[in-house]
Chain length 498, copies 2
């Protein structure tokens, strides 16, 4: 057990370093003075370098070799599997490639910013192609024999997910979502709630909602940042940020509920497995399922509107708002250009289009120079919209400019998982919606804690998902949920189509 | 120059690690959730361990050997001198002693907290004696041949200061201060300003004062914490905290001005010497001179009262306050029991008493068990007060419970340096007080930047001090300043006594 003790001691040290790196990042997005970037950059770089050095040290490989040749219990086996995967992925890359990628990411991000500013893709093509070439090299080096290069990248964000499983799911989902959107198109939508609300009142309401949902403030906090995010620096220190907009109350609240879902997952991870690496998320898709579950399945429900309206009246006594108006306003569905503003249904079409493009990029059949045309074509076919300029199209998202190919699917994996978790919870907790209306979210959180959070990374997310939902079909669960949720508002019913 | 490049690269890395450690600490005192202590403890411990490991690595000693045997310019020579001193002090201690000290500090702090709670020194005696024994061993190991063990400890906080120079200065200062306090004793003091003021207004005024003094908010910020402190995480990121008390406005403002002095020193350190270790304070006494200069020499002056009063009227238009009342209230002088609440004069008697006790402890002539009686005796002789219970006496300060013997002198060294800097500035800037009254502090800060801050740690503080003030006598400067400052208020004049 000497190797096990050494491995877990090292992982604990790496987690402590990771926590410090997370604080550097949190601070950078919340309180760092405007002119302190240089020191912060050096601090982050130094910790990143030391983290990499201590994680990829030869002795770590030695401990893994020893452990793999011995008898391990379930926790140990899972810990060794996870550590071996990360170790292999990190050590298989030559340092020349790691450095090139690092520079290409910096250059790619800068070029993307400039291209957006100029609303012109052309000058971004070369830096993007450089990132594509290096990412393909990375994928090929990291791929196991016979593994698709895209799967090799996917593994970084969502270990266990594969193109072979995602592609048919995404195809079915795309078809069903287009049917759904076609059925709703042009139909009148109930009036929207869009009264501007003072930021201080919004803050109070957010604090109240976070407390009701179950966010643990003894082990977490809420701050303000330009872009909302969640960061865990340990299961006992999980922080979320939000950004209030006076004239877009529902979007800000939805964002806060979304981050709360991420945060409650982090807070529910199994602290007793510290040092094994199993006290971590089982994948970004599963992480996203927790945020989407709370943001969409709970947070856009009729019952949540009925929970919210009286709490809003408590803060703004003269405000004219009804539960029905909130419910309707939170569920406007319409094909649209921008992913981050998309509704619960259209959102997935954005992901499916990008998935198709990313796979082609990794298979070498799509070059950066051809991306704008391929983007427009994919969006026309899959999302049903065409961007008037590059800014609303191929330049809208940051991910590729940082070489993050393979990240986008997590969002829709999250929506799919969330739909099946929702269906299971409705079966297990028959009075769920009465409870939501009362603001009694505890049984829902307890269900997620037991079935999802407490499992940590004992299994990869696809395995955990199957254990929780059995043979449920997440595509069908998501589509059925959307028809139920929106059909009533738009006065349409799902019909079986050929 | 290979060794120089390697040394400076390592120092830059250590500084980056130190910056991250400083952020962990800042966050712990400002925003850390109440229940996140365990993760934070692990993060700080991991970074501390890695810092120590990389600083004390044998290759560092090798680089220093190489550099010491070659030709060095002034900056390099100073960098090598500083690094060698720190390296020797760190590597000369066996790891058994380092661990014992670490445990003894934790136990000492806990015992001190309990002893204070119970207002009983007895149970604290054994843990304190353990700290004394280990600190004496540390001092003996760190001492150069013939160096007094107390000087070996002093070197950690104030390199270049020695018991041989401090003792006669402190003796003269103690005598002069007692004459001064005797002259003032029992004389009527002008009425005090003690109107409670709302915290929000105090915050606004503090922000205004900080800006006027020259605190750079692009490279710093102000937050709230239980105990005010300053932390630099690089010359481009210097943060101060304060704590507002509705019913003690002047103390809170004084604390903010004090921290501002520390912060402006950090902000003025020579960033161009990053990686040499010379972009650091030249000692804690010099650091303290910067906070004391602003807090006392400037912040308690008549001119500062005239600067402050109209700004207070701007925030509290109906407030009855005059510049004279502020001046008088900031300068009440009276022998008192508690160091941190002591006035500008009595404060130094507290330090002189502790210095005498610390030296006896390090010379082995004073044991923990005898400390309460020795404390009361020293306070009776030197400060002229006797504490009714241990809490107001020997248990009042945390320093010794953490093994920080040799730190106390810094405070009075700071006051002495500040007095001579003040005298020099008055000579160099004849219109200084008119400027202070107008809120034009820029020439004063510029003077300190040029003569003190920009020098970094090129020389140890005592050398730097002499370069700046020539043969001025800091004891005479401080005593003369106190007579001038307070004589008018109390209606007494200094007379030459036998």
């Amino acid at each position: 057990m000497e190797a096990w003790n050494q491995l877990t001691t090292r992982i604990e040290e790496l987690d402590a370093l990771g926590g410090a790196m997370a604080l550097l990042d949190w601070d950078q997005q919340t309180y760092l003075p405007a002119g302190s970037g240089e020191s912060r950059g050096k601090q982050s770089a130094a910790l990143g370098r030391i983290y990499h050095e201590r994680f990829t040290a030869p002795e770590v490989g030695g401990w893994l070799d020893t452990l793999e040749s011995g008898a391990l219990d379930r926790v140990q086996a899972a810990a060794v599997r996870n550590a071996r995967r990360r170790y292999r992925r990190a050590t298989v890359l030559p340092s020349r490639l790691v450095e090139d990628l690092s520079h290409a990411r910096t250059a790619g991000f800068a070029a993307w910013m400039k291209a957006r500013e100029a609303n012109d893709f052309a000058p971004y093509a070369a830096p993007l192609q450089r990132l594509i070439d290096l990412s393909r090299e990375q994928a090929e080096r990291q791929a196991a024999p016979g593994q698709h290069p895209y799967d090799a990248l996917l593994e970084d964000y969502d270990p266990g997910s594969t193109i072979g499983e995602l592609r048919p799911m995404f195809e079915r989902l795309g078809t069903e979502l287009n049917r759904f959107l076609d059925a709703l198109a042009g139909r009148p939508h109930p009036t929207l709630f869009d009264t501007p609300l003072d930021v201080e009142g919004q803050r109070k309401l957010s604090e109240r909602v976070l407390t009701d949902l179950g966010f643990d403030r003894v082990h977490g906090r809420l701050d303000i940042s330009e872009h909302p995010f969640t960061v865990g620096m340990g299961t006992d220190d999980v922080r979320i940020t939000t950004h209030f907009h006076a004239d877009n109350f529902l979007a800000a609240l939805g964002g806060t509920v979304h981050e709360c879902g991420h945060a409650m997952y982090e807070q529910g991870l199994p602290a007793q497995w510290a040092g094994t690496g199993l006290d971590k998320a089982a994948g970004m898709g599963l992480h996203e399922s927790q945020s989407r579950f709370w943001e969409n399945f709970i947070g856009r429900s009729e019952a949540f509107g009925r929970y919210l309206a009286p709490r809003m009246h408590g803060i703004w006594p003269t405000l004219a708002v009804s539960a029905d108006a909130l419910y309707a306003s939170m569920n406007r569905v319409e094909r649209s250009l921008i992913r981050i503003f998309a509704d619960e249904a259209t959102y997935n079409l954005h992901i499916i289009a990008r998935f198709e493009l990313e796979v082609a990029i990794m298979e070498g059949t799509l070059q950066a120079i051809d991306l704008p045309a391929a983007w427009d074509d994919a969006y026309r076919r899959i999302v049903g919209v065409v961007a008037p300029t590059a800014k609303e199209g191929v330049l809208q998202d940051v991910h590729w400019s940082g070489g993050a190919f393979g990240y986008f699917p997590s969002y829709t994996i999250g929506n799919l998982y969330a739909a099946s978790f929702g269906a299971r919870i409705e079966a297990d907790l028959p009075d769920i919606w009465q409870r939501v209306e009362r603001g009694d979210f505890a049984p829902i959180l307890a269900w997620l804690r037991e079935h999802v959070h407490a499992k940590g990374h004992l299994d990869d997310a696809p395995v955990l998902f199957r254990e929780v939902v059995g043979d449920r079909d997440p595509v069908e669960d998501l589509v059925a949920h959307l028809w139920r949720r929106h059909g009533k508002l738009y006065g349409v019913e799902r019909s079986v189509q050929a």
